[in-house]
Amino acid sequence: MRTVDYRLLDLGAARIAVTSQIPAFQAQLDFIYGHRDEAPVDGFADVRVALRPGSRWHVWGRQVDLWSEGLRPFEPYPLHSALPLFEWGSNWLLAQRLNAYLLLHAGVLARGDHALILPAAPGSGKSTLTCALHLAGWRFLSDEFGVVDPESGHVHPLLKPAALKNRSIDVIGSLPGTVLGPIFPKTRKGDVSHFVPSKASVADRHRTATPRLVIFPRFRDGAPLRSTPLSTAETAMRLGLNSFNYRSLGPVGFHAVARLARSVKACELEYGDLGAAIDHIEHLFVGFA
C-alpha cells in the first residue's frame, strides 16, 4: 500500500502534519522550521495538510492548492507562493481546531516564565513589535496565537515563524540577529517574509508562562509614545474582541478572559518609534521578571 509521506511539525501547543512534492517548498520549510527535532511521523496532528501543484497549463500560470482532510478551503496561490499559503492556511485551520484553549490574536513573549501578551487587530504592528522584542532578548512564544489554558490560566507557546509584511521586512531585517526566509513579492497581503524564532525559543516550545502584562499595541507613523492604562473590565472586553474563539467557548471563554484580565496589568500603547516602545515595555515589566 502506498502511504503519504507526512512531516510532523511540533509547534508546542499543537502539531501540524504537512506533505508536499514541491522541492522549493520543502527547502523553505526546512529553513523556517529549523532548530527542531522532527516528531514521529505517525503521531497525532491537530491539522493535516497537503500542498499540491496544479496543472502546468493553467491560464494564470502554475498554481498550488492546500488540501486538508479532503477539503480545499482556500483559493489556489501561484506555485512559488506555496509557503505563504501553508502559513496562512495552517493558521486558519489551527484557529478552527484548538478549542481546548482560549485563542487570542496576539503576539506572546516571556522573560523567564513571565509572559507579555500583545493582542491586536491586523495592521497594528503586532508582528513587528513581537519580533523586535524577541531580538531584544525576550523568549518568543507566538506571533499569531495567544494560547491560554482556561484551567491553569497559563499561556502555551505556539511556535510558528512570524509573517512580516511590506515595510516590516526591512525594519526587522535591519536588526542584528534577524533570520528571515525568502521574500514573496506581491502576495494578496503584499510582500511577505517569514521571521525565524531563535533556537532557544524553539527548544522551549513546551514551556508555559504566567501572564503578567497585556499591551494592546498600535503603531502610527510619527506618533509620540502614548501609554494608557486600562481597567480590568475594559481589558476583559478587549481580550474577548481579540480572540478567535471567545464566543464559541461561551462560559469557558468568559471565565478565562475575566481571570486573565484580573491577573495582569494592562494598557494600550500607541507608538511611532519601535525603540521607544521597547524601552517602555521593558520599564512596565520591571518587577515581574
Binding site: S231, T232, A233, E234, A236, M237, G240, Y246, R247, G250, P251, V252, F254, V257, A258, A261, R262
Partner: protein, 91 residues
C-alpha cells in the same frame, strides 16, 4: 463545566464585578456586555421576577416606568430563556 441553573444563579456566576464595572455573559447569545451597577440591579430584579413567575408583571412595571434602559431588554429576555427557577429542567 457545570452551568448554574436559573437566572439568579446565572447572574451570580456570569456577572462579576471588575473594578466597579460588571461583565455580563448573555446566556442565550454568548456575547459579553459591560454594565454599570444600575444596569445589573435591573437585571437582578428581572431575574428574580422570572424565578417567581411574574416576569410579565415586571415587564409591565418597566413600561409604566418609562421603558427599558438602553440594551437591557434583550438581556432580560435572554435570562428568561433559562427558565423560571428550580423546578425548570427537572427530569
Amino acid at each position: 463545566m457545570h452551568l448554574p441553573h436559573g437566572p439568579r444563579a446565572w447572574m451570580e456566576a456570569h456577572c462579576p464585578s471588575l473594578d466597579g464595572q460588571f461583565l455580563f455573559l448573555d446566556p442565550l447569545w454568548w456575547d459579553t456586555h459591560l454594565l454599570s451597577g444600575g444596569a445589573v440591579e435591573v437585571l437582578l430584579e428581572a431575574a428574580a421576577a422570572i424565578e417567581e413567575s411574574r416576569f410579565d408583571e415586571f415587564l409591565g412595571e418597566i413600561r409604566a416606568a418609562g421603558g427599558w434602559p438602553p440594551g437591557l431588554e434583550r438581556l432580560a429576555h435572554s435570562l428568561s430563556s433559562l427558565g423560571g427557577g428550580q423546578d425548570e429542567g427537572a427530569v
